[in-house]
């Protein structure tokens, strides 16, 4: 409050830095410092996100095979998109994946986080929980691919051992997506649990003490204290994980390559396939842009619905 007041006096300020404020209400010196701090991230953002996104927007209006110059074709890629059954199939497949992946992952992560908070503060346990996340996606997918193998995989050996029929986890249309979702739940739930755990740490202990005095059971306290107070963190976690989940790619590329038939042809894999295997970069860009718009809307709705910017605390 005081600093800007001083700055408004012209006589003194001319001896120091100019008083002109920029867009963000910062003084020039501060602004320079701010831009310097932001610069590394900004360079990366422009080079790897903004510029590709703008070029992608342009390419989505062209017929472009990557190897010869793009040719402007208006909205043809977008009209093609509307009538492409594989695009809609890809959206459906991806949504089904996100539903299983996020549903299972969030419940499990919340469970692990609450267990950690209420039972142990051990660093070792926290490290172990985090472990699957430290394994590269491709490696995790490969290892599970072998474990799920129809003939030799340990999982099918166990299934056969207890007298059940072997399951072609990656070969059956109805099993492929749940299997891929499971692999990514395994890899991400520990990490998600840690995020939620951090949110739990921020809930004041005295609320629980008060709950305990009132004779609330663990279950009741979870429902009436933990969940409501955790809401902003949970909302953030959901936005981040759902956005990530929609972009499922590597596990599919390693295991099923979109098959059987089109059962795991998720949107990102379809885009990649179109752009880099089939040299239809224009159409791939149009789909990528559609996905971007979809995710932006989805995230906005999610944030509004979960009131992520407001806490029930205090």
């Amino acid at each position: 409050m005081t600093a800007p007041a001083i700055d408004r006096r012209p006589a003194r300020s001319s001896a120091r830095t100019p008083t002109k404020k920029n867009l963000f209400g910062l003084k020039r010196r501060e602004a320079i410092a701010a831009w310097l701090f932001v610069a590394p991230a900004l360079v990366g953002f422009i080079a790897f996100y903004l510029w590709p996104a703008i070029s992608g927007l342009y390419y989505s209006f062209t017929d472009f095979d990557l190897l010869t110059a793009p040719e402007f074709i208006g909205v043809a890629n977008y009209t093609r998109l509307l009538s492409d059954p594989l695009f809609w199939n890809a959206l459906g497949t991806t949504s089904w994946y996100v539903l299983i992946n996020i549903g299972l992952q969030t419940v499990l992560a919340l469970g692990i986080a609450v267990l950690m908070q209420r039972l142990t503060q051990s660093m070792v346990v926290r490290g172990v929980v985090m472990l699957p996340y430290l394994i590269a996606n491709v490696i995790a997918a490969l290892v599970w691919f072998y474990m799920f193998d129809f003939q030799f995989g340990i999982i099918n050996e166990i299934i056969a051992g207890i007298g059940l029929d072997r399951v072609a986890f990656f070969g059956e249309s109805e099993w492929a997506i749940p299997t891929v979702a499971f692999i990514n739940v395994w890899r991400h739930m520990g990490y998600t649990a840690l995020l939620i755990f951090a949110g739990l740490q921020a809930i004041p202990k005295d609320v629980y003490e008060a709950g305990a005095i009132d004779g609330g059971s663990e279950l009741r306290m979870f429902r009436s204290i933990t969940l409501p107070l955790l809401r902003p963190v949970l909302a953030m976690v959901l936005v981040v994980t759902v956005t990530g989940s929609f972009q499922i790619f590597d596990t599919i590329a390693v295991t099923t390559q979109g098959g059987p038939v089109n059962a795991t042809r998720v949107i990102n894999y379809y885009i990649f396939d179109m752009a880099f295997n089939r040299f239809d970069f224009g159409y791939g860009s149009a789909m990528a842009l559609a996905l971007f718009v979809l995710l932006a809307v989805f995230t906005f709705v999610q944030l509004r619905l979960t009131r992520a910017n407001k806490s029930d605390l205090g």
Partner: protein, 454 residues
């Protein structure tokens, strides 16, 4: 503050400087034709030692020349190549595949190599018949120097033959037809064994609980449009052709009865329990490992894989001819790889020289001695046959098939990746019994639409 910004500006400009420095270096002057440094890509790690040897020999013969070999797995080889072309850091010379070269040639990514044929004094009569012609583009220019050839045969598990009272000789004269599968299907049935030890041609065989499948199944790998190691030997021996003409056909025959009947018969093996379900075959390790684990009595596979089938401990493998078809002929796909020079190469002289070297005797012999593939040059190919024999692998079946003319060239066409992408899911859905073979006619229409606007 000013100093900092200048330093920052310098820092920001550094990658640019490095870039220009890079592109300046490769140019070179005309009289240093065979000097400089080039990069060569291949995908088969089994062949890398042989080509490394070729590179070392080449460098010794051409002081100042340096060949850098990089290997990328086949699964993402061509995607990596595409991105590197776009990114401007593509290699100079690549191992090329007939399925992909038309796209690269027609978009101007490859250099014509007709002058290499001349400068190296190459006479294509000395090469495996049919292979050099694979690499001529639609414009009549040559875009690849042939390096090897391959075809398909039956590979058997010798122990299972003996147990079934068969000998390798009993596989030599089998016939196939799409109605009842002929003696080929009888043999496959006989070699299939269920969990109770009942054979596929005996009463009470349980197709749901199979211990050993008579015939293996390879998933993906161009299963819909190409079927190189999967169904091409049946369809082609029934008189079917991929397209109206080859190379550069513009009308594909996936709506033909011969093709659809072949796929229908092939699928019937799954129902009968003579071949694994597509679901099982595509859920985990591939056909080679399943053969190595004793799950298959017979498989049909390419010569480039022959050596792997002999490498399994406790498995005694052998190679037998393909069955004859309704036309009375046996037909395997004849295919091969070549080396191409990318148009973006900054040292085309050296690149061409290296490509020429790889397709002539010195390097072809080195490749022959490695006994992994059959070199395109006939004399080296014979040498490879001996090297295979010395390694305990009798590959004469492949040579006999080619000598007898029981081969047909692999399809080469524009839009081939799209053809593959349309036919694969179509055939997959037939194989998993989600669609009937007749549905392939729809996919066939989609394929031919690709060529409608050309």
């Amino acid at each position: 503050m000013k100093k900092t910004t200048r330093a920052l500006a310098l820092l920001a400009a550094m990658p640019l400087l490095a870039l220009t420095a890079c592109s300046g270096g490769g140019g070179g002057d005309a009289d240093a034709a065979a000097a400089g440094s080039i990069t060569y890509w291949l995908w088969d790690s089994n062949q890398q030692p042989a080509y490394q040897q070729c590179a070392t020999d080449f460098e010794a013969a051409n002081p100042g020349a340096s060949i850098k070999i990089e290997q990328y797995g086949y699964d993402d080889y061509f995607q990596t190549l595409t991105t590197s072309l776009v990114g401007g850091n593509a290699p100079d010379v690549i191992t090329n595949h007939p399925s992909f070269f038309p796209q690269l040639a027609s978009t101007g990514q490859l250099l014509a190599l007709d002058d290499v044929v001349e400068s190296e004094g190459i006479n294509f009569d000395d090469y495996q018949a049919g292979i050099p012609e694979l690499w001529v583009g639609e414009d009549g220019d040559r875009y690849g120097m042939p390096k090897d050839w391959d075809t398909v045969a039956t590979i058997y598990n010798a122990a299972y033959l003996t147990e079934g009272g068969l000998t390798p000789e009993s596989l030599v004269n089998l016939d196939w037809n799409p109605e009842d599968g002929g003696t080929w299907e009888d043999t496959i049935a006989h070699l299939s064994i269920d969990k109770n030890g009942v054979r596929g041609d005996e009463a009470g065989y349980d197709p749901q609980n199979v211990e050993v499948y008579g015939l293996g199944l390879k998933s993906k790998s161009g299963i819909g449009a190409f079927g190189q190691t999967q169904w091409s030997m049946y369809a082609l021996s029934a008189g079917w052709e991929y397209s109206d003409k080859n190379p550069f056909g513009t009308e594909f025959n996936y709506a033909d009865d011969e093709y659809i009947d072949t796929i229908a018969w092939w699928r019937s093996l799954i129902e009968k329990g003579y071949m694994p379900s597509y679901q099982a075959a595509s859920s985990g390790v591939g056909i080679k490992d399943a053969f190595g684990a004793g799950s298959y009595a017979l498989v049909t596979d390419g010569s480039w894989n022959a050596r792997s089938y002999y490498g399994f401990e406790g498995i005694d493998a052998g190679i037998a001819p393909l069955p004859t078809g309704p036309t009375g002929e046996r037909v395997g796909v004849l295919n091969g790889l070549a080396d191409s020079v990318l148009a973006s190469s900054e040292n085309p002289e050296l690149s061409k020289k290296w490509v020429g070297y790889m397709s002539t005797e010195a390097c072809q012999n080195v490749v022959a001695d490695a006994a992994v593939v059959f070199p395109a040059l006939n004399s080296s190919s014979e040498r490879a046959r001996e090297a295979f024999t010395a390694a305990g692998i009798d590959v004469s079946v492949y040579f006999d098939a080619v000598a007898a003319g029981s081969v047909e060239l692999a399809p080469i066409a524009n839009h081939w990746v799209d053809v593959l992408a349309i036919m694969e899911p179509a055939v997959e859905s037939v194989l998993i019994f989600e669609a009937e073979p007749e549905s392939l006619k729809e996919a066939a229409t989609d394929v031919n639409k690709l060529f409608a606007n050309d």
